[in-house]
């Protein structure tokens, strides 16, 4: 079983539209949405929830006002400025428990924190593991690790050939968590200066963790000068440009209909994504 994660650095370059199409094209796979704080893959795959679980992760400090002597030690030592006027700001609290350990009045308890929910769902393309991180919650990296682990177990049980993972934007904690140990990362970029800058950084993360990468230039015809610059950059980095996908508003129309674009229309976009999946799946079998 092989795992591909679709990343981009910059948001909004088309990760989810491409993963949605891969879902329709790949034969034997489990799908996983690792963009746990702004998940959207379900909007294309129309899942029916099979299992729903709570995600408990981390702790948050709670001060018992009756016991508190207002000595101020906790406020003085909290590195996250989470305690003000002897009250804990749950959003700033990182759950380290330092305050609770040093409180001489034993007035601070650490409470388990429900950080979100995760789901196993059925779609017409196969199983989908996805999640919803609670609003303003931390621990997105742990949640990504959890949904990936669930997807892996399911893929092993079902004998699936592939895990196809829709990654989060950026280069931080959830990206690192979605990248570790995958067989290949497909980096979706766009021919804007921002897209190029962000591609360089996310490719740096792939190199840092030793994950092979492929690049896909989406909306390549928006600025072909920049597209050539990306191709040159990739050549210099020894990274293959696996596809150039033209700009086409049918991608948005398909999204409005709740369909992967390869199922919505036959055009340059769908042909390019089909060829891309062929290349990605080939790179996974080697």
């Amino acid at each position: 079983m092989q795992e591909v994660v679709v990343l981009s650095g910059k948001g909004g370059t088309g990760k989810t539209s491409i993963v949605g199409s891969f879902a329709a094209l790949a034969k034997s796979k489990v799908l996983v949405d690792c963009d746990v704080d702004a998940a959207t893959l379900h909007l294309l795959l129309q899942p029916a929830t099979r299992e729903k679980h709570e995600f408990w992760s981390g702790q948050v400090a709670v001060i018992n006002e009756e016991k508190c002597t207002q000595c101020g030690l906790c406020q003085e030592h909290c590195r996250f400025a989470a305690i003000k006027d002897f009250k804990v700001d749950a959003i700033s609290c990182e759950g380290c428990g330092f305050c609770s350990r040093i409180c001489s009045a034993e007035a601070i308890a650490m409470k388990e924190n429900m950080a979100g929910q995760w789901f196993i769902s059925d779609t017409r393309y196969g199983s989908l593991v996805h999640a919803r991180l609670g609003i303003a919650q931390e621990n997105s990296g742990k949640m990504v690790a959890l949904v990936r682990q669930q997807a892996r177990q399911m893929a092993e049980k079902d004998g699936a050939d592939y895990i196809i993972s829709d990654g989060p934007p950026g280069i931080g904690c959830p990206v690192i968590s979605s990248l570790s140990g995958v067989n290949v990362a497909l980096l979706v970029t766009e021919p804007t200066l921002s897209g190029i800058h962000d591609l360089e950084r996310v490719l740096g993360v792939c190199h840092h963790f030793g994950v092979p990468a492929l690049v896909c230039i989406n909306k390549y015809d928006i600025n072909e000068v920049n597209t050539r610059q990306i191709e040159k950059f990739c050549l210099g980095q020894g990274v293959e440009v696996a596809a150039r996908i033209p700009f086409d508003n049918t991608v948005t129309k398909a999204m409005v209909e709740g369909l992967p674009v390869v199922e919505y229309s036959r055009n340059g976009v769908s042909h390019a994504i089909e060829a891309l999946w062929e290349l990605v799946s080939k790179s996974l079998t080697i």
Partner: protein, 288 residues
């Protein structure tokens, strides 16, 4: 006054709005632009600021003095992040897991732990065409953006107009960037993905107690559900930018909207005036 520019979904035009808003206001007010999307900062591509200063961002991590250490294990027990492991004759520190809370060094009975800085990013500042500029950059391979965001935000001067460009999503880096803002502009696009993530972003700013308004970018691309949602929820739509190949072309080359199409400047100053009106009305309510 601090205005943050966020979105939930990535690629909806946060940077476009943040940079053009800053440029539109600089002739009448003192303006600061802070790019707090420290994982993928892009504002400098558009503003090409002259960088005049920088500082590395460190988080404190434990260093064990094994001469003093008795391998009692109290540090490992105290560390909820599992960043320290204590063996019979050896202590291992995992710097990438450490949040820098300081519990281990404080609680070590032998005072065998000192804290040393580990660099995780950088904050740079300078100016661009009359705008004060600063951004944070997380080092590639690092997981924790929030300490870098905190350092970048430390540059904010509330007496001026501070515009904060926020990363996409709704989790810790977004919360860290938006909190303490006076107003949050949520930039979205009229598509199902845009709406889904707008709803999450609205919940996030509500949780933080920050008032918000919406900018719809690429209007005409999808459906009308974003507008219907805003109407239903009573969230003001403060600016609409159409889907336009010229705007996309400018954006691809790192040219801000108000530089490439100066006729937009008025729309951005009006956007700011609307925000100020909302803020004034709100503080009036609070006074009453």
């Amino acid at each position: 006054m601090i205005i943050s520019v966020a979105s939930g979904k990535g690629g909806t035009g946060k940077t476009l709005v943040a940079t053009s808003l800053a440029l539109s206001l600089k002739d009448r007010d003192r303006v600061q632009l802070l790019d707090c999307d420290v994982e993928e900062p892009n504002d400098h591509i558009f503003l090409k600021p002259l960088i005049t200063g920088s500082e590395a961002v460190y988080i404190p991590i434990p260093e064990i003095n094994e001469k003093k250490c008795t391998y009692c294990g109290k540090c490992a027990e105290a560390c909820v992040y599992h960043a320290i492991a204590v063996f019979a004759q050896h202590v291992l520190v995992f710097p990438n897991l450490c949040h820098g809370c300081g519990a281990c060094s404080y609680l070590c009975p032998q005072k065998a732990i000192t804290e040393v800085g580990r660099e995780i990013g950088i904050v740079e500042w300078g100016h661009s065409d009359g705008i004060e500029f600063a951004h944070g950059k997380l080092n590639v391979g690092e997981a924790m953006p929030t300490p870098v965001i905190r350092r970048a935000k430390a540059k904010a001067n509330r007496d001026e107009i501070v515009i904060i460009d926020v990363s996409p999503g709704t989790s810790c880096p977004v919360v860290e960037s938006i909190k303490d803002s006076d107003f949050c502009l949520l930039v979205t696009e009229p598509t199902p993905f845009g709406l889904n993530d707008l709803i999450l972003a609205v919940e996030t700013v509500k949780e933080l107690g920050v008032s918000c308004g919406v900018v719809i970018n690429r209007a005409g691309v999808g459906d009308s559900k974003v507008e219907e949602y805003c109407l239903r929820e009573g969230i003001p739509v403060l600016l609409t930018i159409p889907l336009d190949t010229e705007i996309a072309w400018l954006n691809s080359r790192g040219i801000t909207l108000v530089e490439g199409m100066p006729q937009w400047k008025e729309s951005f100053t009006e956007l700011f005036d609307q925000i100020r009106e909302i803020m004034n009305a709100r503080s009036g309510c609070l006074k009453r």
